[in-house]
């Protein structure tokens, strides 16, 4: 059996393991095994690649793998669950950068071997350009998303007039550079310019996107990192890269679509409108009634008498790192004979499934977490709904106020519960400054203060 044949056979096995791994990821019972199988597939692919006869020097490979492996392992162990969104963003970015570099390196080799009689094929030049473009914008876009998510830079959307025009012009310029380079590959300046412009495009495309839209952007960048790997696969004619890359690309597209649907917005609306910056009302917030504050002590009496409670967490729970104390409250309530469930909105938090991971960390069983469509029909049967650090995802204006910017977005109907507790820092308007009529409803009680502290007081009252 030839060496090439062996390599390709193992690649097929690796592809099968990736597919099987993703399939097992479909259920929490088998997901961990699925991830392991996928990792084994990756290990096989890497090991068999090393027998490739083109590889003659191993010192650089070993250096790269040791450095990357140490950093990756360290980050994976240290990162807090609340910081998962920015870590995924960062890893996405590295994947994109790796694809850019692979495309570029493949081109450098091809250029070296090319002559006037046998120039570099146009097909290869085009696919290299695609991997540079997509890899580059994934890299800088993810870095910016990382900065926004970790609050190293402001999470507010940055919008200026003519932004769409500028972004379109940058994209056009990359394509022009690509065209000029394909026509005359000896002029490397077009290549360098294209790399620079692709990096710039990533920044300018994430700039107008605000914090609450991050689930969409991370999903999209996730998809891009897969597509970048697939285009690098085209450039070096490697089928495994194409298969694995397109699996990831498809996965990211599906998540992006789910996130957009959960916000009732189109992808282009998320990418270009700079939500929040344009919808911010200039006038004072219109009072829609009286806010009824409640002390944690009084809240305790209501919770103590409740037979069923639904907890609705949002990004505020992640910020306050309140997931463990939420779980304590849940136990107290359950010991008291109360039924407790959690209602999770698809875009609660900063990435798909963010709340689920935080609650899993606090040992909340996943079968106690209900999706929006499961909980909404039965919300009026709950005695108390406790909203912890969520705002837009429980805003009844999405159903009732046609002029509201979020009108039509599917929300968790917290206001249908007999009593609603809203744990909130202050009455300052939340992201995007959209009024939330929930706070003024007859059955709503506001518990002001830090979510963690409030929950602590509630748990203490039960003791």
């Amino acid at each position: 059996m030839s060496e090439e044949m062996l390599i390709n056979l193992v690649y097929v096995a690796s592809a099968v393991m990736f597919i099987f791994g993703l399939k097992l990821l479909g259920s929490p019972d088998t997901a961990r095994r699925g991830n392991f199988i996928s990792a084994v597939g990756m290990l096989c692919a890497v090991i068999v690649t090393l027998i490739d006869q083109n590889i003659v020097e191993y010192q650089y490979i070993v250096g790269g793998i040791v450095a990357g492996g140490l950093i990756g392992a360290l980050v994976a162990r240290m990162v807090a669950m609340t910081s998962m969104p920015e870590m995924v963003a960062l890893f996405n970015g590295f994947g994109g950068l790796a694809s850019l570099l692979v495309g570029w390196a493949a081109l450098a080799v091809a250029m070296l071997n090319a002559s006037d009689a046998a120039p570099v094929p146009v097909f290869m030049l085009v696919t290299v350009f695609l991997s540079i473009l997509i890899g580059g914008l994934t890299f800088t876009g993810s870095l910016l998303a990382y900065g926004k998510l970790s609050e190293r830079i402001s999470g507010k959307p940055f919008v200026y007039t003519g932004q769409r025009v500028v972004n379109s012009l940058i994209l056009l310029a990359v394509i022009v550079c690509a065209g000029l380079f394909v026509v005359d590959p000896s002029n490397q300046n077009w290549l360098y310019l294209a790399v620079g412009l692709a990096l710039l495009l990533g920044v300018s495309f994430v700039l107008p996107i605000g914090g609450a839209d991050m689930p969409v952007v991370i999903s999209l960048l996730n998809s891009f990192s897969g597509i970048a790997a697939a285009s690098a696969g085209f450039a070096i004619s490697n089928i495994l890269l194409i298969v694995a890359g397109s699996l990831v690309g498809a996965s990211g597209i599906i998540l992006t679509n789910i996130m957009c649907k959960a916000m009732n917005r189109s992808l282009s609306n998320v990418l270009f409108s700079g939500f929040g910056a344009v919808t911010k009302s200039d006038g004072p917030v219109i009072e829609q009634g009286e806010v009824k504050p409640l002390t944690p002590e009084d809240a305790y009496y209501i919770l103590e008498a409740a037979a069923s409670v639904v907890i609705i967490p949002g990004y505020g729970m992640a910020v306050a790192q309140a997931q463990h104390i939420v779980k304590e409250l849940q136990e107290m309530l359950e010991d008291n004979g109360c039924e407790v469930v959690y209602a999770i909105h698809p875009v609660a938090g900063r990435m798909p499934g963010h709340m689920n991971v935080l609650l899993a960390e606090a040992d909340v069983p996943y079968d106690q977490l209900l999706e929006m469509d499961q909980i909404n029909p039965r919300l009026e049967t709950f005695d108390v709904a406790v909203v912890i650090g969520a705002n837009d995802v429980v805003n009844p204006a999405a159903r009732e106020v046609e002029s509201s910017p979020i009108y039509g977005m599917p929300v968790i109907n917290a206001d249908k519960a007999r009593t609603v507790f809203v744990l909130k820092r202050s009455m300052a308007s939340g992201f995007a400054g959209i009024d939330n009529p929930l706070f003024f409803k007859e059955n709503t009680r506001m518990i002001f203060g830090d979510a963690k502290e409030t929950l602590n007081n509630l748990v203490k009252a039960f003791d």
């Binding site: 097909f123 890269l241 194409i242």
Partner: protein, 96 residues
């Protein structure tokens, strides 16, 4: 012909991806993202050849950097996904 063949594989894999991922419940979306992110580190395979082929200095350096970044992606992605998935428990499995 090679172009057609590779495109064929690409299109089929995308459809397969859609079928597979559509079945993943929303509770697993974060591990799905970090796990698929690790898979996208497959670029490592391409990077290995660039880094070790000793064709030319530029390609070696670009390849070595790609190996390092892709390895971060692969190792970090799989490890953190495993860490997350270990935390998911059913009610009757009790405390862990």
């Amino acid at each position: 012909m090679e172009l057609i063949f590779l495109t064929f594989v690409f299109v089929l894999a995308i459809f397969l991806g859609f079928e597979l991922i559509n079945k993943v419940p929303s509770t697993l979306h974060t591990p799905l993202m970090s796990g698929s992110n690790a898979i996208s580190g497959i670029t490592l395979v391409g990077a290995l050849v660039s880094a070790g082929a000793a064709h030319q200095e530029l390609a070696t350096w670009l390849g070595t950097a790609a190996v390092a970044f892709a390895t971060i992606n692969v190792v970090g992605g799989y490890m953190v996904t495993d860490r997350m998935l270990a935390m998911f428990k059913k009610k009757d499995q009790g405390e862990g």
